[in-house]
C-alpha cells in the first residue's frame, strides 16, 4: 500500500480507510494484534484485515459490517484528523489541473497544514516529481512528516519548518508550480518567483478566503511581472437521488357533456425518481488566483 500506488491486499503497517456509511469514513493503522472500535463493533486486525483484499466487507463484533478501502488522497481528505481548516477535493481538483501538475512536476507549497492538498499533489507528481512543502508551525510540520512516512510517500516530499514569507521555500529556480495558502500571500510572491524555474510557463496558485487578500495578492503578482492572472471560485453541488411520492388531488368525478360520469382515478399518488439539493451546501471556501510566470 502507498498513497501513490495501488496494491491488492491489506498488510501489516498499511493505512487503510474503513468505510462505515455514506458520511462516515475513518483511517486505520493496520497492526498485527490490534483492534479498532467502530459503532458496529470491533474489527480485529489480524483476522479481519491482514491478508484480506482491499474492498472486502468486514463484519464487526456486534454484527454490523463495514468496507475496507485502499487509501486514496480523496478518501484521506474526508478521513484525516484536522489540525487546520483543510482544502476539499473540489478545490484540489481544480488546483491540480490549473497548475498543470503531472508525473515529474516539482512543486512548492505553503502552508502544509493538515496535508490534505499535499497528499493529492504527491499522488499526481509521483514517481519522478518532488514536493517542497513549508509549514511554520513546528508540531504540524512534525505530524505531517510522520504521516508522509506512514503513507510511504516520504521519498517524494521535503518538509521545511520555516516561514515562507521570510525564508522562502528552501529551493530556487526549480519549481514548475507553486501553491500558497497563507494569511499574507502577497509577502511570499517574491519568494515564489525565485523558487520557480527560470523559463516561462511556471504556474502559481494562491488560495484566500477574503477578497481583500485576493486584491493585494493580484497587485503583488502584477508588480512581479506575472501574466495570465485569473481569479475564480469553484463550488460543489451535490444532488441527492430520492424517490418522492406526490399525492394527486381529487377534484371530484369527471362529468362529461354527454352525461357519462367517469370514475375518479384509483391511484392517489405518483412516484418520482429525482434529485434534491442538500439543505445547506458550502457556499464559499476560498478564491483561487492563478498566474503564469514569465521568463526571467
Amino acid at each position: 500500500m502507498s498513497f501513490v500506488e495501488y496494491s491488492d491486499c491489506i498488510q501489516d503497517g498499511d493505512v487503510a480507510i474503513v468505510y462505515l456509511s455514506h458520511n462516515s469514513v475513518m483511517p486505520v493503522k493496520v497492526q498485527q494484534g490490534a483492534q479498532t472500535q467502530t459503532r458496529y463493533g470491533v474489527i480485529r486486525h489480524s483476522t479481519d484485515l491482514i491478508g484480506q483484499p482491499y474492498g472486502s466487507k468486514v463484519t464487526c463484533s456486534k454484527g454490523g459490517w463495514v468496507y475496507v478501502l485502499h487509501p486514496t488522497p480523496e478518501l484521506w481528505t474526508v478521513a484525516l484528523p484536522h489540525r487546520t481548516q483543510i482544502l476539499y477535493t473540489t478545490d484540489i481538483a481544480t488546483i491540480t489541473m490549473m497548475l498543470e501538475l503531472k508525473p515529474g512536476s516539482i512543486v512548492c507549497e505553503s502552508g502544509t497544514g493538515s496535508g490534505s492538498l499535499s497528499h493529492a499533489i504527491l499522488r499526481t507528481i509521483a514517481p519522478t516529481g518532488h514536493l517542497h512543502t513549508v509549514e511554520f508551525h513546528q508540531q504540524r510540520a512534525e505530524k505531517v512528516q510522520e504521516e508522509f512516512a506512514e503513507h510511504r510517500v516520504d521519498h517524494l516530499v521535503t518538509v521545511r519548518n520555516q516561514d515562507v514569507c521570510k525564508d522562502g521555500f528552501g529551493v530556487t529556480g526549480v519549481a514548475d508550480a507553486i501553491f500558497l495558502d497563507i494569511p499574507s500571500p502577497w509577502e511570499a510572491v517574491g519568494h515564489a518567483k525565485a523558487a520557480m524555474k527560470r523559463q516561462a510557463g511556471g504556474r502559481l496558485c494562491s488560495f484566500s478566503p477574503c477578497i481583500e487578500q485576493v486584491q493585494r495578492t493580484c497587485q503583488a503578482l502584477v508588480d512581479q511581472g506575472f501574466e495570465e492572472i485569473n481569479t475564480l471560485e469553484v463550488l460543489l453541488r451535490i444532488h441527492d437521488v430520492r424517490t418522492v411520492s406526490l399525492p394527486l388531488p381529487d377534484f371530484g368525478p369527471d362529468c362529461r357533456s354527454d352525461g357519462v360520469e367517469e370514475t375518479s382515478p384509483n391511484y392517489a399518488a405518483v412516484s418520482l425518481k429525482t434529485t434534491t439539493p442538500p439543505r445547506e451546501i458550502p457556499g464559499h471556501t476560498g478564491y483561487l488566483t492563478f498566474a503564469t510566470k514569465p521568463r526571467t
Binding site: 482491499y54 472486502s56 489541473m97 451535490i238 429525482t274
Partner: protein, 491 residues
C-alpha cells in the same frame, strides 16, 4: 546560457502548439511555410522555431512573426486628464473622429497596435472626460481589437480543455474544464495505474488522462565529465516504469483520437496506450474472445478474392486496346507480371497489418481479462447506463470510477441501477459551479457572464460484490424521505 538543456522549452519544427490571444486559443502544428489563420489574421509560424515557449510575437506585414521586444508598459493615457463621472457624456456615436477607412490606412502604413490606439485616443472627443476607470476600460477594449500579437504555448490539459470548451463544446459533449478537472482527481488518475476510458470527446479526456499518467516514466540524468567536457546522458527507468496503461474502449470501427495529437506527447507515451472495440466486450466477458492467429491460407484466399474484384474493372478498360494490338504482346506480358507483383505486395501489406491488429487486440484483451483495472472514466454521447454497468465488470474492488453526462437524468438512472446491484459505495451525483472574478483596485467583482452549466458527474468506489442478495440493505444510503420536522439532526 541559451543552450542549457533548454531544448524542451524551445519551439521545434513539427511541434504541436497552442496559439493564444487573450482568452482565445487554437491548437496547430508547426509546419514550414504553412499559412495559419487565427483571430482573423494570416501568418506563418516559421519564425517561431527556436524561440522559447510562452513567447509573445507580433504579426508584422506579410504574416511574419517577430518576438515582442519589451513588455509594452506605460499606458497610452499618461495624460492623467480624466473626468469624475459620465453625467455630461452623450453617446451619439460621433465622438471618434477617425473613420473605418482612416484606421485601415493607419494599419496599411504599418502602425503598431499601440500606436493605433494612441491615434484613437487623440481623435476621441470624449476620452478626456471619461473617468480614469472608463479610460482604462476603453484602452483594454481597443487593445483587444487592434493589438496583433500572438503567444505560442506548450499544450497542456488545462489549455486544451479551455480551448475546446470555448471553441467547440459540441465536440466534447459540453464538458467544462473544471468538470474535467474533477474527473481526473476523483478517478485517482496517476502513474502506474491501469485506466479504462470510454469517451467521445475528440480525445480530450483520453489525452488528459495520458498526461496525468506520464507515459513511460524515466528520469534523464546528465553527467558532465570535467577533463574533456563530455556530457554523458543516462536514462534511468524507475522500478515498474511503463507498467501503467490506458485502455481506450471504443464504439464503431476505430478509436477517435484527434485531440490526443494536440497534446504533443512524445512517442513513448503511445506505448502505454491500448484500444479495444466494445463490440467484442461481451465475448471477452464470457471468455469466448479468440485472439489467436487465424488460418493463414483461408485469409489469403479471402484477400485474393477481394483483390480480383478490385482489378476486374481495370481489366475491362484495357480489354479493347489489348485485342486490337497484337504487336505489343510482350509489353502486356510485362504489365501482367508487374500487376501480379503489386497484388502480392498489397496482400503482404494487408497480412502484416492484420497481424498487427490482431496482436494489439490480444494485448488489450490480456490487460482486460484479469478484471483488475484501477479506474474507469466514461464521458460520451452514449447513454451512460449500459456503458457503466458493463465496463464496471473490469474494475478491481476498491477502485474509483467516474461517469460524466451532460444530462442529470441519465446519471440518476445509473445511480439507481448501481444501488440495486450492489458492489459500489460512496456514490455521489454532483456538478460544479464555476465563477470568474475581475480583480482590480476598487473594481473587484464577479465577471458578468458565467457558464450556465458544465455537465454532471457520478462517482463512486467499487467494493467486493456481496455474494448474498443485496436486497436487504443494512442501512440505506438514500436519506429517509423528509418528514415535517422542525429541527434536522446533523450526522
Amino acid at each position: 546560457m541559451a543552450d542549457n538543456g533548454d531544448e524542451e522549452y524551445r519551439i521545434q519544427q513539427g511541434d504541436y502548439v497552442v496559439l493564444k490571444r487573450g482568452d482565445i486559443f487554437k491548437a496547430v502544428q508547426i509546419v514550414p511555410k504553412k499559412k495559419i489563420i487565427f483571430e482573423k489574421q494570416w501568418f506563418f509560424l516559421d519564425n517561431a522555431v527556436g524561440n522559447l515557449y510562452s513567447t509573445t510575437f507580433e504579426i508584422s506585414s506579410g504574416g511574419i512573426l517577430q518576438p515582442q521586444k519589451l513588455k509594452e508598459t506605460g499606458n497610452p493615457s499618461d495624460l492623467k486628464e480624466a473626468g469624475t463621472d459620465n453625467r455630461n457624456i452623450v453617446d451619439d456615436g460621433k465622438s471618434q473622429k477617425l473613420t473605418r477607412d482612416d484606421i485601415e490606412t493607419l494599419k496599411e502604413q504599418g502602425l503598431k497596435g499601440q500606436e493605433i490606439i494612441q491615434q484613437l485616443i487623440e481623435n476621441s472627443s470624449t476620452f478626456r472626460d471619461k473617468t480614469e476607470y472608463a479610460q482604462d476600460k476603453y484602452i483594454k477594449k481597443k487593445k483587444k481589437k487592434y493589438e496583433n500579437t500572438v503567444t505560442i504555448l506548450k499544450p497542456s490539459c488545462r489549455i486544451l480543455a479551455m480551448m475546446y470548451h470555448g471553441r467547440e463544446p459540441g465536440k466534447i459533449c459540453h464538458l467544462r474544464y473544471d468538470t474535467l478537472a474533477q474527473m481526473l482527481t476523483l478517478a485517482n488518475i496517476h502513474a502506474h495505474s491501469k485506466v479504462l476510458v470510454f469517451e467521445t470527446c475528440a480525445g480530450l479526456v483520453l489525452g488528459s488522462i495520458m498526461e496525468r499518467m506520464g507515459g513511460k516514466l524515466c528520469r534523464i540524468l546528465h553527467f558532465r565529465v570535467s577533463f574533456n567536457s563530455l556530457r554523458m546522458i543516462v536514462v534511468w527507468f524507475p522500478p515498474r516504469a511503463g507498467y501503467g496503461s490506458v485502455i481506450q474502449m471504443y464504439p464503431g470501427g476505430g478509436p477517435v483520437r484527434a485531440g490526443v495529437e494536440s497534446f504533443g506527447f512524445p512517442a513513448h507515451f503511445h506505448d502505454t496506450l491500448h484500444e479495444f472495440p466494445i463490440c467484442h466486450v461481451n465475448a471477452l466477458l464470457a471468455g469466448e474472445l479468440d485472439t489467436t492467429a487465424k488460418d493463414p491460407t483461408a485469409e489469403e484466399k479471402l484477400n485474393l478474392a477481394a483483390d480480383e474484384e478490385q482489378i476486374q474493372p481495370e481489366a475491362e478498360q484495357q480489354g479493347s486496346p489489348e485485342e486490337q494490338n497484337m504487336e505489343t504482346n510482350a509489353a502486356q506480358d510485362q504489365e501482367k507480371i508487374e500487376k501480379e507483383k503489386r497484388r502480392e505486395a498489397k496482400a503482404q501489406e494487408r497480412k502484416v497489418k492484420l497481424e498487427e491488429k490482431r496482436k494489439k487486440l490480444a494485448a488489450a484483451a490480456a490487460l482486460l481479462e484479469g478484471r483488475n483495472a484501477d479506474g474507469l472514466v466514461i464521458a460520451s454521447r452514449f447513454h451512460p447506463c449500459p456503458v457503466l454497468m458493463t465496463l464496471l465488470k473490469f474494475l478491481a474492488p476498491s477502485r474509483p470510477f467516474v461517469v460524466y453526462s451532460q444530462y442529470k437524468e441519465t446519471l440518476i438512472e445509473c445511480y439507481t441501477k448501481l444501488k440495486e446491484q450492489g458492489g459500489t459505495v460512496n456514490l455521489r451525483l454532483s456538478d460544479t459551479w464555476l465563477r470568474h472574478y475581475q480583480v482590480l483596485p476598487n473594481r473587484t467583482h464577479p465577471v458578468l457572464l458565467m457558464s450556465g452549466g458544465g455537465g454532471y458527474l457520478l462517482s463512486g468506489t467499487t467494493v467486493a460484490m456481496d455474494q448474498s442478495k443485496p436486497a436487504a440493505s443494512q442501512r440505506s444510503e438514500e436519506p429517509a424521505p423528509k418528514r415535517q420536522k422542525v429541527k434536522d439532526t446533523e450526522g
